[in-house]
Symmetry: C2
Subunit: 465 residues, 2 copies
């Protein structure tokens, strides 16, 4: 929902070009709220509001505007106008933005940035997407261990404007090797002992990530340790930057979206659903649909072997979708539970025996229940039909209809075991278990379902011997 | 994977009852790492390690032990031994733990807590699970607006031991009404101007949550605003507590798990997959399986109307699973994309026209491609079979087999539109769109698929007129 609370006021101030009013509006509210209230404006109007504010507030507000709109603003305003704002952004956000805008605009904007910012941006642009390097920012307080608490507070106070966070500050040697961590908490706690040396205070066992680490691993580390930020180092433990909690939350949400997409056989989208152009969306969906389609063709192939049998015993056809979907549904349930368990660390590879036991129990219990209900319904469905006399003779016996419950029990058990074990197998082979989508499990169980159904039918229905 | 790096050393120190060694081990490492290295120990051994440490380090390490093990430790040690540790825990963690342990143990432990802690615990236990109240902690710095920066730093420094965070500090009046926010950043930045009054420094536009707000809404707010913590207030804007970023990450992961479970038609589990007792698991899966089973029975009912037709034209049976799964798969894709879009705020209810347009385009494009391949395969499958002469006469014409591609196109379009619109409809009706599981969409599309298939067949296959 777009927040339209202040929209009329904003529009009025814009129409009257009331810079003082706009400036006061931006200063009074949290930058995130200003961004929220501007959502109804177009890129040009947003820029007009931003221009009325102080430069540092401007960068703050801008960072809360959604990315698609940011790109629009940059491309509307052009390199000359926007370069100051881009220079004021935190390094990580700046890099994210520049890698989204038009190549030309980026190339024209880069030379307009101050030399330091430009170099840093180029360096960060060099890290591969999805790694700690691409996620980090370089604006972190570096302290020497000989500083006192008082001097450290003073130093941070001076630099604070340019720091992403003042809450975690890192102690380094002359070559920037990471020696320890001093949190703002440590400093505040020792505020009454201003002469304490940082070296005596710092935590030496600092948990770090490598610049090449995968962003998912980084996010898990920060989440497990309840950190506000984590330092990024190279192989020589040289401090390169930090990743802050807000970026970690973004990564976790991104990964949750990716897993959700995979579970529905969609190749994860990089942008939002509405922003993704349709050829890309069609491709990311089509690829997996084809794979599933081929699996479904195998069911047709399997059924072809029984074509004559269906001619003799047509009532068997009625329960094909029921049998298939029961197996697929239980299989998806098991797969999702195990995949999510593996993702959250609740299930481990070494738990495979427990998974088998659990899924066997589930299969018996759920399959048994569905079989009972299915039997009752199957008897009714095969009995109630005779609207012509001829059909009456083709009514199957109660014994024959038992094909349905027996099949249901077996198919559901096949579903729970397949769904439970395939993700573990994928994990074991070093693949992402989330690749094992619900539909893939369902596809495998579908074919097994047809084979089970017809084998049981062969054994139990008189006409098919 | 259990980290066994230090396990032999730990076991040796435990065997020798080397308290100094254990204490040094716990002091040198980050509490989260100590907890990690202890994972291989049993509850009794963990308690032995914990006992060797300083009380405040002990509570820190304990808070990083996974909950199931925490409960085991509490129940092994018993109320007398454990009450000190429980009193030292942050209020929110304490409440979480006590609501997990055996009722008897809880009732025996509560009276052993200091009066303040006991009252607070009882109060927090009173908030409904899943609300801001149940998530918050009460240990937050409350400042008066007449304090100077210097006094505030001193005050926080004194209380720091008992505070969950020193990074966000709240300014309140005598009745605890929230007036403003002073972050540690504000204090550090103004460290060189120690006489500045807090009232002149504080941010007045504080974003808050109500104590009764849903935890999902709280998490979204913190994530959107990049906060480290958010204050919890009552209807009179009285400060009750705060919720910190680490709890928000837990909530986000919990919600992602819930959504994943729902998407596979499992009623969200409260505990992990392995911890959930099987009758509960069976119930949470069985309920939805039944619903889906009833939907699948409707396909059997729909098919019954065409039983005679299958007897005449048996090759139609081959493609039933193919038609059904193609519709179901595209439907799940669309539903997942839209549901995830709604969850992340990327898709809004007002975007329904764009969703329709997009899904129409997807349906045409994906349905068209599947139809082409499906046609080629269907022709081959209906042709290759004749192992006996009699069957040869039942080979359908190329025109008749076109039933398959026409149906595929229509069913896929039905799938994309149903999958895209049902979640929006649920959202519109005020229901959680995540309730619209993939299988539910698939179930709806299954029935539609059968009806489309048979209607198309009636129109195109000679024997059925």
């Amino acid at each position: 929902m777009i927040n339209t609370l202040y929209l009329p006021e904003l529009r009025e101030m814009l129409a009257e070009n009331d810079r003082t009013g706009l400036q006061e509006f931006c200063a009074a509210l949290h930058p995130a709220r200003v961004a929220e209230f501007m959502e109804g404006l177009d890129a040009g109007e947003m820029w007009q509001v931003l221009q009325a504010t102080e430069p540092d507030v401007r960068a703050d507000i801008f960072s809360f505007i959604e990315e698609a709109k940011q790109v629009e603003i940059v491309e509307t305003v052009g390199p000359e106008g926007i370069s100051r704002l881009i220079a004021d952004m935190p390094a990580d956000d700046r890099v994210d933005l520049l890698s989204e805008v038009d190549q030309d605009v980026m190339e024209q904007t880069l030379p307009l940035l101050p030399q330091d910012d430009r170099r840093e941006t180029l360096r960060l642009l060099g890290y591969e997407e999805g790694t700690a390097g691409a996620l980090m920012t370089t604006e972190v307080a570096r302290l020497s261990q000989t500083l006192t608490v008082h001097d450290a507070l003073e130093a941070i106070s001076r630099q604070a404007q340019d720091l992403e966070t003042v809450y975690y500050n890192y102690v380094v040697d002359e070559q920037d090797h990471l020696l320890g961590l001093v949190s703002a908490r440590d400093l505040v706690v020792n505020f009454t002992r201003p002469d304490t040396q940082i070296g005596d205070l710092m935590q030496r066992d600092v948990v770090t990530v490598l610049v090449t680490d995968d962003q998912e691993a980084v996010a898990e580390k920060v989440a497990n340790y309840n950190f506000i930020a984590i330092p990024v180092v190279d192989h020589h433990r040289k401090l390169l930057g930090i990743i802050t909690h807000d970026d970690v939350i973004d990564v976790l949400q991104e990964e949750a979206t990716e897993d959700a997409h995979r579970s529905a056989s969609v190749d994860p989208l990089e942008d939002g659903y509405l922003e993704t152009p349709w050829p890309e969306l069609a491709w990311k969906r089509g690829v997996w649909l084809m794979v599933l389609f081929v699996a479904a063709l195998l069911t047709a192939l399997a059924l072809r072997g029984y074509e004559e049998d269906f001619q003799k015993v047509t009532w068997l056809v009625l329960f094909i979708p029921l049998v298939i979907s029961s197996g697929g549904n239980t299989g998806s349930q098991s797969a999702t539970l195990v995949i999510r368990g593996l993702t959250t660390g609740d299930v481990r590879l070494s738990d495979w025996r427990r998974v088998i036991r659990k899924e066997l129990a589930m299969g018996l219990c759920l399959g048994g229940s569905l079989a009972l209900i299915g039997y009752a319904c199957a008897v009714m469905l095969t009995r109630g039909a005779p609207d012509d006399a001829e059909a009456a003779q083709s009514i199957p016996t109660v014994w024959e209809v038992a094909v349905v419950p027996v099949t249901l029990l077996l198919v559901v058990m096949c579903g729970t075991l397949t769904g439970g074990l395939l993700p573990l197998l994928f994990q074991r082979m070093g693949l992402d278990p989330a690749l094992m989508s619900n539909q893939f499990v369902a596809g495998v169980v579908d074919i097994a379902g047809i084979l089970i159904y017809m084998t049981v039918a062969m054994a139990m229905v008189a006409g098919l011997w």
